[in-house]
């Protein structure tokens, strides 16, 4: 006989967050669900030195879009801008539509599959806020690949097995 599996709440290695899915990063190098927002960075199509910082707040569905130098996005319309649409599409690729919709408290149809469906469900409205915190999250993200590897063991990573599915 073997003991039955413990409930999720009682397991040390319980999986809490599903791994992100890989996606192409050229257009949207960074997207995350954090700080109560869908937020990220979209590369400019015309200027290689410029990126747009876009975000959509879960609490009231206001959105923000500006360049990394804090110039307002010129393409803002009711319901969003091209950058926010690109961000929503890539978020859906990275996290799946269900997780994005849940985080944003967006009431999407059960058969929704796209970022556009999420944006349509929230009816985003424009409210300029600060892009700097999101941009600094992006810089922090980039800095991970600059840190050196090590061959000293990290025993705490036994709590973080690769792979696996969410229960």
């Amino acid at each position: 006989m073997n003991a039955a599996q413990k409930p999720w709440e009682e397991r040390s290695a319980a999986r809490v967050v599903a791994p992100a899915r890989p996606r192409k990063l050229a257009k949207v190098p960074f997207v995350e669900l954090a700080d109560g927002r869908l937020q990220g960075v979209v590369s400019s199509g015309s200027d290689i030195e410029r990126v747009y910082v876009s975000s959509l707040t879960a609490a009231n569905h206001s959105f923000h879009c500006s360049t990394n130098n804090n110039r307002p996005c010129g393409g803002i319309r009711s319901g969003g801008c091209n950058h926010l649409r690109a961000l929503a599409d890539e978020a859906v690729l990275q996290y799946g539509v269900a997780r994005v919709a849940r985080y944003l408290r967006a009431d999407v149809a059960e058969d929704a599959t796209t970022g556009a469906a999420v944006l349509a469900a929230v009816n985003a409205w424009h409210e300029p806020s600060a892009g700097a915190p999101v941009f600094s999250r992006f810089l922090r993200h980039l800095a991970y690949l600059e840190l050196p590897a090590t061959t000293e063991p990290l025993p705490e990573l036994h709590w973080f097995p690769a792979g696996g599915a969410v229960r």
């Binding site: 009682e10 090590t150 063991p153 990290l154 696996g164």
Partner: protein, 460 residues
């Protein structure tokens, strides 16, 4: 291997977990104003260590917590008590496992006083955040509280001696970030978050991260397989191997880890590790390596350096497991690593029957049915649950998370009437199959994009 010994419960383990569960439950609502149930749980924690040198400090910490005047020091005492209980559970489980496997294990050398790794201000910043978490409780976390960790984590990751704590806090904070606000979480991972929090409090004590004195070993290293660990911003490959030394075979591990970003997953992670350890290529090529004066910790972890290793003769892991594993001696577990989640003992099992069902795969041996730990199987190699279900022999890690499970590292399975060996870590040195190679190329592309962006935006 006497698997029947794993069927009977180990004395004291479930009692230890009962006490720990009470304390973990108190962390859900936070330690600021414990209610009657939480106060009883804190008293039970103090009672459980009342016969130990921790007794006085834990009793005082419990009184102060109940009185609402908890300090860092009191939290450390509560964590020490919880860790002592789980450490004892770990020891009892490991002793049973060693008995079942007939494995001899060295004893830990007596510790001197911990030498501070320095950077006390960084550790203090980490402790301060961990205190705030404990006071707020999992139900009390919000986005602000979670993001307060960012600065401390960044500083810890930049300091190689403190990387262990940085990698732990980053993985933990990532889960809190994805789950906040705590008030509306449908379910709380009570044991897991208490574990991660408690280990972080331990590692944030001055001296806890002092490096153990390393020795050196030489001999032929015969890999058994790779255990892969990953959270959004870190990946670690831990190779389990038998080292043939002048004093006989011994079990060792060799790790390599790298920071990463969340979109680098699956077989894409190997390229971050490969250039730092020639051992990964040796595993794909199924070769031994000849080690000369390789640094090793008292806990059996090689501190890998390619300068101390040369490629050796072909070596097949199942041959190693059949010939060498039973006689290999194991290293003792470092005191601060003693926790049941750390149990990962390589074993060879054969002569079982398999069953695949809705919830997973089981391997039934005389006297024991072992569940396959599917959550520790990954897509970064060719080994799948279906192959495990079709297997006749398995090299795996015995693990314990409330009950014994097996994490397969490799299996022998019948494919088209031929016995083939399939290894979870087979792609460490390079993917052989088209899908794996494609995923690697996509990940390489992602790394290139991010490095280009970093070049333009980060260094200015």
């Amino acid at each position: 291997m006497r698997f029947d010994l794993l069927t009977t419960p180990v004395d004291g383990v479930s009692e230890a977990y009962d006490v720990v569960a009470g304390f973990d439950g108190a962390l859900v609502g936070g330690l600021l104003r414990p209610g009657a149930e939480q106060i009883a749980a804190l008293h039970a924690l103090a009672a459980a260590v009342s016969g130990t040198p921790l007794a006085g400090r834990v009793a005082e910490a419990v009184e102060k917590t109940i009185a609402g005047s908890i300090s860092d020091e009191h939290l450390a005492a509560l964590v020490a008590a919880r860790s002592a209980l789980l450490g004892a559970a770990h020891d009892a489980l490991l002793a049973r496992l060693d008995e079942a496997a007939g494995r001899s294990r060295g004893t830990w050398p007596a510790d001197g006083p911990g030498v501070s790794a320095g950077a006390d201000n960084l550790l203090a910043a980490a402790r301060s955040w961990l205190s705030d978490l404990a006071i707020a409780g999992w139900r009390g976390i919000d986005h602000d509280l979670v993001s307060h960790a960012d600065q401390a984590v960044q500083a810890l990751l930049a300091e190689p001696r403190l990387r262990r704590l940085g990698a732990l806090l980053d993985g933990f904070a990532g889960e809190l970030r994805a789950s906040a606000p705590g008030a509306t979480m449908p379910r709380v991972p009570v044991r897991r978050w208490a574990d991660l929090w408690a280990r972080a409090v331990l590692l944030a004590q001055p001296g806890a991260l002092a490096a153990a004195e390393a020795g050196a070993v030489s001999g032929r290293l015969l890999p058994l397989g790779i255990d892969l660990h990953e959270h959004p911003t870190a990946v670690q490959a831990q190779v389990h191997a038998v080292l043939e030394t002048a004093d006989g075979p011994r079990l060792v591990r060799a790790s390599v880890s790298a920071p990463k970003v969340d979109t680098l997953v699956g077989s894409g992670v190997w390229q971050l590790l490969r250039s730092h350890s020639a051992l990964l290529a040796a595993i794909t090529e199924q070769r031994a390596m000849e080690l000369t004066d390789m640094p090793v910790t008292p806990g059996g972890d090689l501190i890998w350096s390619d300068a101390h290793a040369k490629p050796g003769t072909p070596a097949e892991p199942f041959a190693t497991a059949r010939v060498q594993l039973a006689a290999a001696a194991a290293a003792p577990v470092p005191p601060l690593e003693r926790h049941p989640v750390r149990l990962a003992e390589p074993v060879l099992i054969e002569g079982y029957t398999t069953a695949a069902h809705d919830d997973g795969v089981t391997l039934t041996l005389p006297g024991l049915t072992l569940e396959v730990d599917l959550e520790r199987m990954h897509g970064a190699g060719p080994l799948t649950p279906a192959l495990v279900a079709a297997s006749t022999a398995c090299i795996g890690l015995l693990r314990w998370d409330g009950h014994w499970t097996i994490q397969p590292l490799a299996v022998e399975a019948q494919v088209k009437r031929k016995t083939v060996a399939v290894h979870a870590g087979a792609w460490a040195g390079g993917a052989a199959d088209a899908a794996g190679a494609k995923a690697e190329a996509a990940a390489a592309d992602a790394v290139k994009v991010l490095r280009e962006r970093a070049g333009r935006l980060l260094r200015r």
